[in-house]
Amino acid sequence: MRPARVALWALAALTALYLVLPVFVVVPMSFSDSAFLEFPPQEWSLRWYENFFTDLTWLDSTIASLQIAVQVTLLSLVLGTAAALGMVRGRYPLRALVSGLVMAPVLVPYVIVGLAVYAVFLQLGLTETALGFVLVHTALAVPYVVITVSSALMSFDRRLEHAAMGLGAGPVTTFATVTLPLIAPSLAGGAVFAFVTSFDEVVTSVFLSGPDLTTLPVQMWSGVRVQIDPTVAAVSSMLLLVTLSLFAGAGVARLVRRRKA
């Protein structure tokens, strides 16, 4: 290999290592027997995993997070797909402005979103409610669905829709029988992003959390802030596993489909 190629490979390897380095710290820590976060661990045990599954505050926040994330996923899929259709297919004035507004939640710093939402939701009584979390997380997740679905729609062969209509399918049937099945892989991708966006969200969630309702990431955050609870490391490791399997699953599905086509 030429020196330039060697250098490129080395740079890529170092970058990858840098990105996964936290994993090599967190995962071993989660198996530590120590009452504090300790790296490298002196003694090994599963006590922090046991603690997670027996402590109600951890379980409650996990269930709350899952419920919120599932609702956010469904809601942002519907809204994001509709928005993507409007942005890619629509012809109307100020289309660029509409696109900008839809994408705004990812551009505005989350702290500002959190603060603004907190001020309003406090008056509406929406803080510490699942609805409040779902509303905010959906706004943050929709742009990701819009991005994946619009790119699928932009490369979509509209002659297929014309063919369907020419063969007697109305607009709704055409969408359901031709468009939707063909962009489904992108919807699945968008769904994974939406789910992770909600399930991972800390910044705005800190504002909305309280004794009545706390999500898992916020529980982890206070687990480190307030009492240095090594359960956090165990939760992190499990989350890592879940996230990895989600993305690996999406990757495998894509491979299988490509092999079939």
């Binding site: 014309h162 007697g168 063909l182």
Partner: protein, 334 residues
Amino acid sequence: MNETGGSVDVLGVGKTYGQAVALDDVTLHVEPGEFMTLLGSSGSGKSTLLNVVAGFTRPTSGSVTVDGRDITHDPPYKRDLGMVFQHYALFPHMSVAENVAFPLRRRRVRGAELTRRVDEALDVVELGGLRDRRPAQLSGGQQQRVALARAIVFRPRVLLMDEPLGALDKRLREQLQLEIKRLHTELGITFVFVTHDQDEALTMSDRIALLRDGRVVQVGTPADLYDRPASRYVAEFLGESNLLPAANDSEALLVRPQDVRLSRPGADLPAGDHAHDGKVTEVIYLGSGLRVEVELRSGGRLIARTGTRLDPVPRPDDEVVVHWRQQDCVTVPA
């Protein structure tokens, strides 16, 4: 003409995109059961016209009727016309059988009746054995046959085809031309076929409408257009043509290369033949014949197509007399 075919009438249809005129006051009548070809070069408006009939393009003016029913403002899915696209537009996520079943399902055909009619349509295009394949597993010719089966399975009275053979190689194209022609005879429905290929148009059509710059320049049988072109443009569009100055400036004489004969200077010519002296400039061997280019002494060039067994075979720089029978040349408005 057959009762299963519908008549199509295009009345004064115009279509403009901003300043650009795609169709300019087009009127065309298609008989029930007729094979009508819309022929023209790219940008002539032939595809736009087909899309107006199909309902994908809304005309700026004029109307479209099928069997006397005004469908100008109907969406495509209410027109009940079959349509075949150049790039097949098969649904990639469905099997061959599901593709063909699609228009039947939209018409609420179910169960045994559905299966029977799908099988029947696949048999017509001789693809019965491939019903469970995906479109991606088929060759271009097979895909186009599936598209044909899908377009005829619901027994439309009119079938529209937009350059359906454009993406296929020459041999396959010629084979499918004959199959489509056979299908037309068997089904008895009206075909409206778009192509830019004059040979395809001549081979397949009952009548041809030649379009240019959004207007119909001539409608007629292949023989009408080829032998009695209404203008110089038509003459030059269909086949090779020799256009010579006529007695007055507003007309030209058309003689097709295969009607031009070559003789040696001084030879006896049949009485009444038009004759010109010239010199051979180029001879190309085509297998099926020779293409001989002659420079006329009176100015201008002329192409002759002859058999390969001429005696002697013409060579460049040979002095020749080109001649043709009176009835083989026609006057064409210049």
